[in-house]
């Protein structure tokens, strides 16, 4: 895909770990925010235990770690608006979209209307999205 003389690639960030127990979730978020500065086509996936990263109501006061979950709601402002959640991962954990943060972006081509960034996809649909990527980063 070309935009003027700049090549735009499809970058996917695959998040598969619960937050806080390991550093992967936070590191992924840091890398995503840095990458957002390069105007690429960015997608985020939350699958397996990665779905826990988006849980509402996280409160790390008692574990002495930074609660980075509010940062996800800023992704829309960084023009990251393709966030895929694997439905089977939610089902296996007794969770639904209701348990997760509601992530939105403002569409500049539609009078800044607020739109959903989250796409709930089946395992099969997710496989298809992964297949279309140029680069997949695994966290």
């Amino acid at each position: 895909m070309e935009d003027g003389d700049q090549v735009i690639k499809k970058f996917m960030y695959m998040n598969r770990k619960a937050p806080y127990g390991t550093i992967y979730a936070l590191e992924s978020l840091e890398v995503v925010l840095i990458a957002a500065a390069f105007d690429q086509d960015v997608s985020l996936v939350f699958a397996d235990d990665g779905v826990y990263q988006l849980m509402k109501g996280q409160n790390t006061d008692d574990i002495g770690m930074k609660n980075f979950s509010p940062t996800y709601s800023a992704l829309g402002d960084y023009d990251i608006k393709k966030i895929y959640i694997e439905k089977e991962s939610l089902d296996e954990r007794g969770l639904s979209l209701e348990d997760l943060q509601d992530l939105k972006y403002e569409d500049e081509d539609d009078d800044w209307a607020e739109k959903d960034s989250i796409h709930l996809v089946s395992r099969e649909e997710l496989a298809e999205v992964i297949d279309q990527q140029d680069v997949v980063f695994s966290f």
Binding site: A18, G21, D48, K56, Q58, N59, D62, N67, E92, R93
Partner: protein, 102 residues
């Protein structure tokens, strides 16, 4: 000999909870911490394993780790007791030994 088993990994990620439950003797206790707290939640693929194991072992989960992850104490498997850090220390002191499943 009453042993305290600690599990700090999600059952979806590692088989440490499964191994622990397979080898924990009747009368021992299991404390779920860090990402291991996921194992205490109701309605997951592993809830039944925990509920079944509770006929032989006592289950505890570390409250601060649930709270950090946005997991509600009111949504844990029936019979699992929530403890704080001092409760963790008490458990360690009450049991003869501590076995950490990594």
């Amino acid at each position: 000999m009453a042993m305290l088993h600690t599990v700090n990994k999600s059952p979806f990620e590692r088989n440490s909870l499964e191994s622990c439950l397979r080898l924990a003797k009747s009368g021992s206790s299991v404390l779920l911490t860090e990402d291991g707290v996921v194992g205490a939640m109701q309605g997951t693929k592993y809830s039944k394993n925990v509920a079944d194991a509770m006929t032989n072992v006592s289950f505890y989960v570390l409250g601060p780790d649930l709270k950090a992850r946005g997991l509600s104490e009111s949504n844990i498997v029936d019979g699992v007791k929530v403890v704080d850090y001092s409760g963790f220390v008490d458990l360690a002191a009450e049991h003869e030994s501590v076995q950490a499943w990594l």
